[in-house]
Amino acid sequence: MRSRARFAEAPAHPPPPPQYGRVLLVLGLCLVLTACGSGGWYVVDPTLPNGRSNLWFMLSGFWYTIKLSFMALIIAIPGALLIALCGLSSNRWLQRLYRGYVEVIRAIPLLVLILWVYYGLPDLDIRIALFWSGVVALAIGESAFLAEVFRAGIQSVPRGQIEAAKAISLNYPDTMRYVILPQAIRRILPALGNQFIYVVKMSALVSIIGAPELTRKANELIVTEYRALEIYTVLALEYLVLVLILSAGVRWLERRMGSDERKL
């Protein structure tokens, strides 16, 4: 009897324990510990004028990283969707095109793709500005993975949904837009979230061609300050903040769209 009573008191869906606090606590501890050991934290100490200006210098890469990742996603998402639709088409040539694209792009390391777009393409007289080279390389690299995610999501929608749409003679674009994609996207939101985070993190690689984003800024600072541990720790925190904001956004979307799923 007692155990049953206790059971009834437990909420049906316990709220997830807050994780951010703990993560920040651990990182903070690392900071303090390493600070005691090496004592190089003055380079990023916001209470000192030099530390402040260094921090400002590092933070100035934020906007570039955000723009870079955002533009890459804006291009990659519709692109990947189109590619996925090719893969789901009944046309054998479109299917092969899809397979080929995904296999080839997935196999190229992103770093190589970035170098190829920025240093390779000019040999073909295709010159893309620094920022857009980064965007294009990130978008292409991302699109292959996103396409697979979209394909999986669309295939997870029961066949009866397409048949019901056909039976009321909805055309293909309307069927996708109103019936299939809303259900597919809801299912793949967690996987999409992963991919969004992946793009933000991989944008660090664009520093190799000199794009003034977060990682590049940190590297430039290290050249003058020689404090790798402190500066890279701050850099890691910068990405952490970006990713936490992004993942909170995805979970907000999940809640908004997923609340209906529970009633299905």
Partner: protein
């Protein structure tokens, strides 16, 4: 008068399996046909071919005088409503939105017009109060009635029913069959695949018995149930009526 549906010697294969072989059937406007037969006999495949959810391999299907092919399929489907065993409602849309989607996107009705029509059909299937709910919040019987209303919103001339009560709990079968019987009374042309023989006796103009991909017997219900001609049909009727 020309039959509204003419099926002429169609074949359908799934790999090595012959789902339909040489099936022919004419349906007159306003006629109610009940198709029965053991599972795997091709009854569902037959009606799925009539609105081209399956593509027949040989033979010809004419709906309203138009031969079914890839090009005409969309046009023909506007006049042919379909109700599925598993309802196939759009789970992410409200009942009302399920009903208005087709009329708005296909028939080009304005929102208010489509909603008025949807409410009219929801009244007809007796669940107007569920309009704002999601399908998952309804019982099976209610969902199937919404599915019927959704098909009717397209104002079809022909309604196809693919085992509409097979996925329902027993106590909900009657509410769906009642709606269907009422629809039959309004003069709709209907082809119903079902094992509900009581409904068949009540509503059918003609019974079609299928087995192994062929139409074995066609007869008016009185004759069909009292004096089936073929042995296969007798065996089948004994099996489903005998329990």
């Amino acid at each position: 008068m020309q039959p509204v549906i003419q099926v002429r010697g169609i074949d359908k294969r799934f790999g090595d399996f012959r789902a339909l072989s040489g099936v022919s059937l004419n349906v007159a406007a306003g006629e109610k046909i009940v198709v029965c037969g053991p599972s795997g006999s091709g009854k569902s495949t037959l009606i799925r071919c009539i609105n081209r959810l399956e593509v027949h391999d040989a033979g010809e299907i004419l709906v309203g005088g138009v031969a079914l092919d890839d090009r005409s399929a969309d046009k023909v489907r506007r006049d042919v409503g379909m109700v599925f065993q598993q309802f196939n409602l759009f789970p992410h849309l409200t009942v009302l939105r399920n009903l208005t989607l087709g009329p708005m996107r296909v028939r080009g009705l304005a929102g208010e017009e489509a909603e008025a029509k949807a409410m009219e059909y929801l009244e007809r299937v007796r669940i107007p109060e569920q309009a704002e709910k999601l399908p998952g919040q309804l019982s099976g019987g209610q969902q199937q009635r919404v599915a019927i209303a959704r098909a009717l919103c397209m104002e079809p001339e022909i309604m196809l029913f693919d085992e509409p009560t097979s996925a329902l709990d027993p106590e909900m079968i009657a509410e769906v069959l009642d709606v269907m019987a009422e629809l039959a009374g309004s003069g709709m042309t209907m082809i119903v695949v079902t094992h509900e023989m009581g409904f068949a006796k009540r509503v059918a103009d003609r019974m079609v018995f299928m087995d192994k991909g062929e139409i074995v017997e066609t007869a008016p219900p009185e004759q069909f149930f009292s004096a089936p001609e073929t042995e296969r049909c007798q065996t089948f009727l004994n099996q489903i009526l005998g329990h």
